[in-house]
């Protein structure tokens, strides 16, 4: 029997969240400009290692994270700069971390893939595909254990939905009705492998059935749709009704990492151009203009704010000190070794 349930996220009113639109647009533009600038800094060697940019996926981070409370938890993989910013981490602390500086959010010891701010419940930044999925379930388990109404938001790519940790974590989250929201940030490619070449089915929302939780398929280029679907998932989680699997379809405009061209062997230039034509920033800006919530002057003002913030973040990162030599050996174990 074919599964015929309509899992598309319900449409919502254009004005339901209009009071938040400017904040959302500002954050999406900030993420875009921040990432473009990070790419430039990488090219001249100010940022090292692996660096995975978020360009094209901004509406996913902003639409989901904006629905959370300050005491909720967020965890992600290694394409997480945008999510860190959306969670409220400062451009300075994130850029300084990319530069490996002592003022970075992880003291320069984490880097692009390991951004943390425990005061905001942003718990990484994880580099092993799928490894963060059970951790996100663990935060939700802790909320249930402590009988709080916190929720846990876990991001991962569609490629991570094929790894064992996804199955194990979602099964237990469903079994125990954990207040967890699992977001498949579905940009269509696991590095250079198209989803169709890696998954036996192409609708990941269906997989939720296996774990006794609702699955919803969401247009990830429209922040409004993302947010409306996220609100439903959050409400369910807080009410003790258990987890939700969200398959949010988006697209990364850039290569997998800085060493990968935007298009090449695994996807065509035409495809990238076509997908870029429905840009999440444009979708929201257009809606705001239609509702008279922003005009040319407003857009110019917003762009100037963002440009100043990114420039300040880069200057801060450039001028910040390197970690002290003794930082090499700190934070391996607890500073107070009082085991008894």
């Amino acid at each position: 029997m074919a599964v015929s349930t309509d899992r598309r996220a319900p449409s919502t009113s254009e004005t339901r969240y209009s009071a938040e639109y400017r904040d959302w647009l500002r954050m999406m533009v900030l993420i875009r400009r921040f990432e473009e600038r990070a790419g430039e800094a990488y090219a001249v060697g100010q940022i090292g290692g692996f660096c995975h940019l978020y360009i094209g996926q901004e509406a996913v981070a902003v639409g989901t994270i904006s629905a959370l409370r300050a005491d909720d938890y967020v965890i992600s993989a290694y394409r997480e700069h945008g999510q860190a910013l959306a969670r409220g981490m400062s451009s300075r602390s994130v850029m300084a971390e990319l530069f490996g500086k002592a003022t970075g959010c992880s003291g320069g010891k984490g880097g692009s893939m390991h951004l943390f701010d425990s005061s905001l419940g942003f718990l990484g930044g994880h580099g092993i595909v799928g490894g963060q999925i059970p951790l996100g379930a663990g935060f939700a388990w802790a909320a249930k254990y402590r009988k709080t109404d916190q929720v846990s938001l876990t991001f991962f790519g569609e490629a991570a939905a094929n790894i064992g940790s996804f199955h194990e974590a979602l099964n237990m989250a469903g079994l125990w009705k954990l207040p967890a929201i699992f977001v498949i940030e579905n940009n269509g490619y696991g590095m250079g492998t198209a989803m169709k070449r890696a998954s036996a089915i192409d609708d990941f929302a269906i997989r939720a059935d296996s774990y006794g939780m609702p699955g919803v398929s969401v247009d990830g280029q429209d922040v409004l749709t993302v947010r409306a679907a996220m609100d439903e998932a959050v409400e369910r989680a807080r009410a003790g009704e258990g987890p939700t699997l969200m398959d949010i379809q988006t697209y990364r405009y850039v290569g997998h990492s800085m060493s990968d061209a935007p298009h090449g062997t695994y996807r065509s230039k035409d495809e990238v151009e076509e997908r870029r034509s429905r840009d999440p920033l444009d979708v929201l800006e257009r809606r705001m203009r239609e509702l008279n919530l922003i005009d040319d002057d407003g857009m110019a003002e917003l762009a100037a704010e963002v440009a100043a913030e990114v420039a300040d973040a880069v200057q801060f990162a450039e001028e910040s000190p390197e970690p002290d030599a003794e930082q090499l050996f700190s934070d391996v174990y607890a500073p107070n070794q009082g085991t008894v």
Partner: protein, 326 residues
Amino acid sequence: MATMTYRDALNAALREEMTRDGDVYLMGEEVAEYDGAYKVSRGLLKEFGPLRVVDTPIAELGFTGIGVGSAMVGLRPVIEMMTWNFALLAIDQIVNVAAKIRYMSGGQVACPIVFRGPGGAALQLGAQHSQAFESWYAHIPGLKVVMPATPADAKGLLKAAIRDDDPVVFIEGEMLYNVKGEVPDEEYVTPIGVADIKRAGADATIVCHSKTVKPSLQAAKTLAGEGIDCEVLDLRTIRPLDVEAILRSVAKTNRLVIAEEGWGFAGVGAEVSDLVQREAFDDLDAPIRRVHQADVPMPYNKHLEKAAKTDAPKIASAVRAVCYRD
């Protein structure tokens, strides 16, 4: 002092720590309704309820990750591995997350968690169920590796591990669970990182841990009859290693044998050997000898298995060699 088994000592440690701290919970396969695959958690479900004694599906990676995640936000989980062989499925969470989260978060996120269960060989369980993995975990900065040999140490060290603010790999043994010993009546906690002289002696040091402590003591008894007075030093903790205790003993006896259950290549004995040749070269009157499992997967056949394992005669023979009495 009460006499109790190693199993009951662990059970008492869990009960005391769960009573003391509401953030401590036990999670794993068969820990609750079944009372534990090896009955270490007997009675705990009844006493603490299903939120604190949690049966899981057979999903080591998943439940270990859930435990690690909950530790990252302040709970103090004890994750039971039915055996450490199965923890290979969970090692990503232990090595890539638990061991590194404090460091890569710049000190923001702690991971106070205990991973515990039996390791090494029992009897005729074959190649996949008979592996001693302590050197794997001891290799990783960020982890502590604790391996008690006696009931008293099992209780005191498990309590210390649960109170520790870092991830602790706590390796027990199927062949140790029924071992009986005296356990203090009053509450006590045994510090992690401190070795223990299980037998004092003057002529040769046997460094051992966990299941090799008993055969080392047996070897020492045999050798005493031959006029060789052995000191048996139980490491109790592999990481952090009690460097001072090892060097002190070698300075006294000038001869060293290291006995371990696992394979020799890159094993615990290799690390201790390196330490002693570097720090105590002039104290040594003979080359260091090591006793360890034969360099093969564990065979099923009982004669072959015996031939592969570390035992008292092999340890005694190594001691004779370092004393030039072979």
